[in-house]
């Protein structure tokens, strides 16, 4: 359980949000050109990092807007919050 600083509403309880999983998985530009391996990679394979992970979240019981966060999955500390379309912070790798 933790608090998330929604870029539109401010700090709220995590239970108001839903997790959209790993961020920055780019939707294929030419879906018809994709091989089965590439589809599997896009649809199913996940980094599932223990440590610093970039994620999408949705404030589903609030403003219902999507945004990104950087979170350490080994202790649930949120390191950064940034809006959709913004470049991910470079100081976390």
């Amino acid at each position: 359980m933790f608090l998330i600083n929604c870029p539109f509403c401010g700090e709220r309880d995590q239970s108001e949000f839903s997790s959209g999983g790993e961020a920055h998985i780019v939707r294929p530009k030419q879906p018809t050109e994709l091989s089965d391996d590439e589809w599997a990679e896009y649809l199913f394979m996940r980094k599932n990092i223990k440590g610093i992970q970039f994620e999408r979240w949705n404030h589903v019981h609030g403003c219902r807007k999507w945004f990104n966060i950087v979170r350490d999955t080994s202790n649930d500390k949120i390191l950064s919050v940034y809006k959709m379309g913004e470049k991910p912070p470079v100081n976390y790798k």
Binding site: M1, F44, T73, D76
Partner: protein, 417 residues
């Protein structure tokens, strides 16, 4: 077995104040090289080592455990065992395990306290009724015992359930698998550890894997906190940390690791003599031999490796428990904990070779791996020893995420998530 447990050994040791029992398993330092190494000393990993030694005659093997054996999800689950899955592939896998459970205490000469007290799954809406009846038929076609109970029969089987039609999610019926039940989770890990150790398997605790050494497309050994260990067969059974180990070999898996919680109440006199699961309201409960209610809650929606879980998940589960069992309203909960479960997109496990020679994965059991422990170990041992899957785990390969031939058990099969 060198040190067989029996009524005579009990009497003999009672006469010496129980001070001369031998250690149940050894505590060796790692050798330089093994024929095969199992990464992860939980129930599945220890069972894998046990069957590798017993059925496939591989004796020079080791199990590496970063903490202590059975200290991960094996000691953290709610110990439910059942095989009433919808699809043929799952039915084959889980019923194979259930059949092994039925003789496991004798096989291991260790009381795993397997109790076939039945598992009942409740239906709370018309779609639940249709789905559960369909599953009952599918189970019976696969030779798995299953019956449909109407509301009165549910009440008769477990009288403390509130079957009033006026509650928010009324009980419209349920399914019952009588061969299903529970077992003592620690005893399963200890029994397999003792059995494997007896056949010469090295069980090495407090030994964390730090890297996998590869030579081209095959493995050569493991970097660990106790130094480099050479081997050309590695079986990874690391549950929530499977992706972390896979990453060391440059592999990506279709897994997400999430906290799953459980809690137990203060101990009370026997009140519920079966296991009742309800997927729609997400509450499942049984009673341990000590008298505690054992309650399983849900997973968090986000990836996390903290063995905690969120409070709101516990609240939701307890709300459902209170509506179904008003008699529990004044019970105090004693302990709450979380374990990290590795969830596959199709809610089915992976027991598979990989495209790296000598590297095998047994993972993706998600929220329901305990029930499969003996079957999982047996089939994974077969896969490692023969470098080919057994016909019962052929469908649970890693390649199904490329071919699209998924074993979709989400919601379809009484999977509680």
């Amino acid at each position: 077995m060198k040190n067989k447990y029996s009524v005579f050994s009990l009497i003999k040791n009672a006469l010496s104040q129980h001070e001369n029992w031998q250690q149940a398993w050894g505590n060796p330092e790692p050798k330089k090289e093994y024929e095969a190494i199992i990464v992860g000393g939980g129930g599945h990993g220890l069972a894998t080592a046990y069957y590798l030694a017993k059925k496939h005659n591989l004796k020079n093997i080791a199990v590496l455990e970063k903490g202590w054996i059975g200290g991960g999800n094996t000691g953290r689950n709610t110990t439910i065992i059942r095989s009433n899955y919808l699809w043929d592939a799952s039915a084959g896998l889980y019923d194979h395990a259930l059949k092994l459970w039925e003789n496991l205490s004798q096989e291991l000469n260790y009381n795993v306290m397997f109790s076939q007290r039945g598992v009942m799954n409740l239906a709370h809406n018309l779609q639940d009724v249709r789905d559960l009846k369909r599953r009952t038929h599918a189970n019976r076609l696969n030779g798995i015992d299953a019956v449909w109970l109407n509301t009165e029969e549910v009440k008769k089987f477990c009288p403390i359930i509130n079957t009033s039609p006026d509650i928010r999610y009324p009980v419209l019926g349920g399914t019952l698998q009588r061969r299903a039940g529970t077992a003592r989770h620690d005893a399963v890990a200890w029994g397999y550890a003792r059995g494997a150790s007896d056949m010469g398997v090295d069980i090495i605790q407090n030994c964390e894997v730090k890297g996998i050494k590869r030579n081209g497309d095959k493995v050569e050994g493991l970097e660990t906190t106790k130094g480099f260990i050479k081997t050309n067969k590695i079986g990874v059974v690391a549950a929530g940390h499977s992706s972390v180990i896979a990453n060391m070999a440059g592999l990506k898996l279709p897994l997400e690791s999430k906290p799953l919680q459980a809690l137990v109440s203060e101990p009370v006199k026997p009140i519920i003599d079966t296991v009742v699961m309800s997927n729609a309201v997400h509450a499942y409960v049984s009673q341990s031999d000590k008298g505690e209610l054992v309650i399983g809650a849900g997973t968090d929606s986000y990836v996390s490796y903290t063995q905690r879980g969120s409070h709101n998940i516990v609240e939701e589960t307890l709300k459902a428990i209170l509506e179904l069992y008003p008699i529990f309203s004044r019970m105090k909960m004693l302990r709450q904990w979380g374990g990290i479960v590795d969830i596959c997109p199709d809610a089915s496990p992976i027991i598979s070779k990989t495209n790296i020679k000598g590297l095998y994965f047994n993972c993706g059991w998600g929220t329901g791996g305990f029930k499969a422990t003996p079957g999982s170990g047996d089939l994974f041992a077969h896969t490692i020893a023969n470098d080919e899957p057994h016909k019962l785990n052929a469908a649970f390969n890693l390649n199904r995420f490329v071919s699209g031939d998924l074993v979709d058990e989400h919601g379809a099969a009484a999977v509680a998530h």
